[in-house]
Amino acid sequence: MALVLNDEQTMLRDNARGFLGKNAPIAHLRALRDKRDADGFSRALWKDFVEMGWAGILVPQEYGGLGLGHVEAGVVMEELGRTLTPSPFLSTAILAATAIARAGTDQQKKNYLAQIVAGDLIATLAVDETAKHHPEKTAMTATRAGNSFKLGGAKTFVIDGHVANLLIAVARTAGKPGDTNGLTLFLVDASAKGIRAERTPTVDTHNAARLTFEDVNVSADNVLGKIDAGWDVLEGVLNAGRAAVAAEMVGAGEEAFSRTVAYLRERKQFGRPIGEFQALQHRAAHLYCELEVTRSAVLKALQTLDDSFERAGAIVSVAKARAGLSATLAVNEAVQMHGGIGMTDEFDIGLFMKRVRVGQELFGDANFHADRLARLNRY
């Protein structure tokens, strides 16, 4: 497959860019932040996403979705990264839709995917338990009790966790923290008795929550995939999420970069545009190279998810690691090159830096993915 967007993907990108630029620019994020919006996103805007089919972008057509691929989902994520628009797109349309479409029973798919497509369900993945991403260290327990399970434990940094209706919770049915065997995925009604959700506002004004599970009863019908063998499904879902976040960081990094280049052209010091200074030119040119090289890896990761989902692990790690590092460089350089104005809340550049910091950490930072790649390559 050629490493360029095809005509349909390019059209999707242009449409998304036009729509988000008009309806959800950075002022939209600021407004939600400044009024301390309880949901942390606009339900009216999400309804627009639903009408454009975005909620079901990865849902197969037989369940009412658009039946598109990860490249298309990544195209939308990249545009969301340019405008920093908060929405349940990552949690619901990517993580939950991938998990259910890939591992669900026919009944589960019919039920949940249809609701996702219709915009009736906000769903998310509850996986992390510690400050750093280590899915194999899952300690939350699921103990069998007759024909159901009792869930006990806590999750942290659950995206959209305080507004989700459906949680895909990763719990341990066997083994001990550190084992990849013995994990099981559960579809859990977020309003079930024993679940407490605490919104944890983060630096980037996007949604995250801490969830506690105390004797939460889940029927065996709501096991997603196989008992004790949830690792492979989880890895696949996480890979989809990692590539999507990488695409979002490409968008955020490039937007910060293009604003910086524009500023270098217009800002005058010592009677000259600062873009004439070679010290800044070289740093800008180096950053351009870093971002272009990252874009190649991210596109390849998204294509690999569409071509051979199970074998995408290595390239997804490459993409996530590079996207984190190059977007971080982009926002750091953006603040520095903007000078004092880059430090003000009034100016947008800092918002990019905040979102990229979150994206770095989400589903494994660059070190996590470098380590994962080394393991895959046996050294």
Partner: protein, 393 residues
């Protein structure tokens, strides 16, 4: 698609039948490669045979048109040929500045006579070319070159000198930048000439590098006569040809970086450092190697993406500066890691055990990658101005 699949099958069968086993091992440094030329030096009969067989199909330059001796393959077919060659570890049959630099410039700027004269010989490896660009006073500021060509009727009379002419002492012909109008602004009085290195008045002197090798020469022109028919492009407009050629040279240098050692850095390091629970015993080096591998794979994908973008007309003309800059910096980083992974063994300079210090010499040679063909700083200048549109000079 069916046609391409058939092409793949036939190509693999042909390579299996025709590529000698000795040519399915990595090239061990520049000296081990096949350079062709009037007085070719073959390391083995297999090397000669492999060149002859590939040249007969035009597959030394698979994408050039058949009428100029090339393979006449489409881009997709050429990609398949390269994939199949990689799969069987087939060596490049011919290493040639004619292929990577002069050829593309002749296609764009050469006369029909010049194309018919020179291109087929490049394909068959009959003429070994060298480049006469830099001068002692004109390195990164290339356009300030002084070697002059005076109009003598049907001929030019050339006087001056060049430096860093790669393998000038082994080359048959040179493509050369000369000043034809000393009074014009410095970019506008330059012309692009081709001439035979056996012409009277040419002498060369090798320059020994820190690697102990001397791939480069100083080249002196003392009243050398060159027919005017050997002018490529228009008189005084050689700078356009030179710039175009440089973009191809940059692609080539950016894409280099094989030391002939096919083992991954992780493997090399594992052998010297040992492992601990399957992980390299030096965890810091392990992290650096993994970080390098992430960037190296992303860069390879970028070369592929740039090719795909070029095919659909989306590639920026100055993108070769990105490839040159990033590829050479990456290669230097790789060689530093190879040295760290090899430890004391990598420091050996002589002797059979280290193949005459191959690792150390390759490490030293790599330092030149970000200088030759335009320094990294020059590439960053080009990106800043031409791609990012930043103001100044």
């Amino acid at each position: 698609m069916d046609n391409l699949e058939t092409f793949r099958k036939d190509t693999r069968a042909w390579l299996e039948a025709n590529c000698p086993p000795e040519m399915r091992r990595p090239v061990q440094g520049e000296e081990d490669a096949c350079w062709g030329g009037r007085h070719p030096v073959f390391q083995s009969d297999a090397q000669r045979l492999w060149l002859e067989r590939m040249a007969a199909k035009g597959w030394t330059v698979p994408e050039w048109p058949r009428e100029y001796g090339g393979g006449g393959l489409s881009r997709d077919e050429a990609k398949i040929l390269h994939q199949e060659m990689r799969a069987l570890n087939c060596r490049t049959p011919l290493t040639s500045f004619g292929i990577s630099m002069l050829g593309p410039a002749l296609f764009k700027y050469g006369s029909e006579e010049q194309k018919r004269e020179h291109l087929p010989k490049i394909v068959r490896g009959e003429i070994r070319w060298c480049q006469g660009y830099s001068e002692p006073g004109a390195g990164s500021d290339l356009a300030s070159l002084q070697a002059r060509a005076e109009d003598k009727g049907d001929q030019f009379l050339i006087n001056g000198s060049k430096i860093w002419t790669t393998y000038a002492n082994k080359a048959d012909w040179i493509f050369c930048l000369v000043r034809t109008d000393p009074n014009a602004p410095k970019h506008e009085g330059i012309s692009f000439l081709l001439f035979d290195m056996e012409s009277p008045g040419i002498s060369t002197k090798p320059i020994v590098l820190i690697s102990g090798f001397s791939p480069f020469c100083e080249t002196f022109f003392d009243d050398v006569l060159v027919p005017k028919a050997n002018l490529v492009g228009k008189l005084n407009k050689g700078w356009d040809v030179a710039k175009y050629l440089l973009t191809h040279e940059r692609d080539m240098i950016g894409g280099m970086g094989s030391t002939g050692d096919n083992r991954s850095l992780g493997q090399i390091a594992g052998e010297t450092l040992g492992t601990d629970h399957g992980m390299l015993a030096d965890t810091v080096l392990r992290g650096q190697i993994a970080a390098y591998e992430i960037d190296a794979l992303s860069f390879r994908l970028t070369m592929e993406r740039v090719g795909d973008m070029a095919k659909v007309g989306q590639a920026h003309p100055a993108v070769s500066s990105l490839l040159k800059y990033y590829g050479t910096e990456l290669n230097k980083r790789r060689m530093e890691l190879v040295m760290s992974a090899g430890g004391l063994d990598a420091l050996e300079w002589e002797g059979e055990r280290s193949h005459e210090g191959r690792t150390a010499r390759a490490w030293l040679r790599s330092k030149g990658n970000s200088i030759e063909g335009g320094t990294s700083e020059i590439q960053l200048n080009i990106i800043a101005k031409r791609i990012l549109g930043l103001p100044g000079a």
